[in-house]
């Protein structure tokens, strides 16, 4: 117990004293995950909105596929991205393996289905409510997409935060494609795994505290947004 307390104190001092190595890892983690989430949003949100509004053969199957991809095992995603980026893979020539870009790609693959599925769900509910009114106002199905995306903005920010939560806490895929190289691809989760196995619990604990802090912050932001939406009557029925 005394050992744990001393490791924890050491961890706190690393955080509070602004340990360069620790904060470099935190910064890289944030950079990778924020980029990944933004790219996922750019891809996933229009796809989700299109799935909600458009009517075409195979739409239902596509929705099932997107929903299924939300539960795709991260290590399998890591393996597939690794195969794509490895020297003998189709994208090997780009030499992206073991770089932050490879980690971003892996996180994009993981987070995009979440963005698409949540967006589809939110927009479909809103479209059902708005459908007759927008048609009455002369808004076409295609033109209704930006209207719906804007009016669902609070719910979509929640989706964005959910995606970020998933990305920042991810370990399996990024360790495969990033390689956990010191000062290059070492992020919070992979460092925690490595340092714990080495017995360097202080750094692992410090990163754990920051990760938990981020998770709580993200959840608090989601709750605040939900509360605001409820207060303003902006939530979907």
């Amino acid at each position: 117990m005394q050992g744990f307390a001393s490791e924890f104190n050491h961890a706190l001092s690393l955080i509070l004293n602004g340990d360069a190595e620790l904060w470099a890892i935190v910064l890289l983690s944030l950079q990778v995950s924020i980029f990944a989430v933004l790219i996922s949003a750019v891809i996933g949100m229009p796809v989700g909105a299109a799935l909600a509004v458009a009517r075409f053969p195979g739409r239902r199957a596509l929705i099932i596929l997107v929903n299924a991809l939300m539960g795709f095992p991260p290590v399998v995603v890591g393996l597939l991205v690794y195969l794509m980026l490895s020297r003998s893979g189709p994208l090997g020539v780009l030499e992206l393996l073991y770089t932050p870009t490879a980690m971003i790609i892996a996180q994009v693959v993981l987070v995009t289905p979440i963005m698409a599925a949540l967006t589809r769900q939110v927009i479909e509910m809103l479209a059902e409510e708005y459908s007759e009114q927008l048609r009455s106002l002369g808004v076409s199905r295609l033109a209704s997409v930006p209207v719906l995306l804007w009016d669902a903005r609070l719910a979509l920010v929640t989706a964005l935060l959910a995606g970020f939560g998933r990305a920042i806490a991810e370990v399996g895929a990024v360790i495969i494609v990033g390689g956990n190289i010191n000062h290059v691809t070492r992020v919070m989760t992979t460092t925690i795994a490595l340092e714990t196995s080495k017995g360097n619990l202080a750094l692992a604990l410090a990163l754990g505290v920051i990760l938990i802090g981020l998770a709580i912050t993200v959840n608090a932001m989601v709750s605040a947004l939900t509360l605001r939406a409820e207060r303003e009557g902006l939530r979907h029925a």
Partner: protein
């Protein structure tokens, strides 16, 4: 289009309209001509087909058979662009009160400065001054319905369809809505409104369409339909009997 000679709004005409679902006739209207000078009110019990008829007139629902014409021309996109509809539960965008009005004005490519003036004028007309920046979804039921009507009027429609706009409102809120409807009618907007409220029909209607089980059982001048109904269904309904 409003007739420049007589001053009456465009004539809506329905021919051989029919909607059937699972072998059940939901709407069967051989002929109906709405050419009166003032508001037309559609009365009848639940399931009579009132809202369905309204949606057909507005082109929101395509009938299985038959057609809707405006001034003798089959309802087309141009006609629809000059119509507006207000629903029983107002569907307001998740934006401010002013942004709900701005949405339709922007679609008309109105310059920003004119939009601002028009929004102010509309808010004053609906008694919503001072609420421009308020989230539309936080308005009371009566205010929300008034905003929905203002948004419809912002389109400067020739025909305004209203589907039981006051069914959930108290007398004071109902009175405000009725005044807005009468003002729009006085400006030459053709009003076609569904209601259950016989008193409202007495207050507003120029002509009344009585419906029962998907059929028009009577159509005529309001005074005549209300005081000397010709059909048994109309008589029972107007006498306050339970018409099922």
């Amino acid at each position: 289009m409003r007739d420049v000679v007589t001053g009456t709004p465009g004539i809506l005409e329905v021919s051989n309209l029919s909607i059937t679902r699972d072998g059940k006739t939901l709407l069967e209207v051989p002929h109906l001509c709405l050419d009166g000078p003032g508001p037309t009110l559609i009365l009848g019990p639940n399931g009579a087909g009132k809202s369905l008829l309204l949606r057909c007139l507005h082109g929101l629902i395509q009938p299985d058979r038959g057609r809707v014409c405006q001034n003798g021309v089959v309802l087309n996109a141009d006609h629809k662009a000059r119509q507006a509809m207000v629903f029983q539960s107002p569907v307001l965008l998740r934006r401010s009160v002013a942004a709900n009005l701005d949405f339709v004005l922007k679609r008309q490519s109105m310059p920003r400065i004119l939009r601002k003036q028009r929004i102010d004028a509309l808010l004053a007309e609906g008694g919503l001054d001072g609420k421009a920046g308020q989230p539309a979804r936080s308005l009371s039921g009566g205010e929300a319905q008034r905003l929905a009507i203002l948004r419809a009027l912002a389109l400067e429609p020739e025909t305004l369809f209203l589907d039981e706009p006051t069914s959930a409102l108290d007398p004071s809120a109902t009175q405000m809505i009725e005044r807005m409807v009468l003002r729009a009618s006085a400006r030459g907007v053709r009003i076609v409104m569904v209601t259950h409220d016989i008193g409202q029909a007495r207050r507003l209607a120029s002509d009344i369409v009585m419906m029962q089980a998907g059929h028009v059982v009577e159509h005529g001048i309001a005074q005549k339909v209300l005081n000397e109904p010709e059909s048994d269904d109309s008589r029972r309904y107007l006498a306050g009997g339970l018409v099922t």
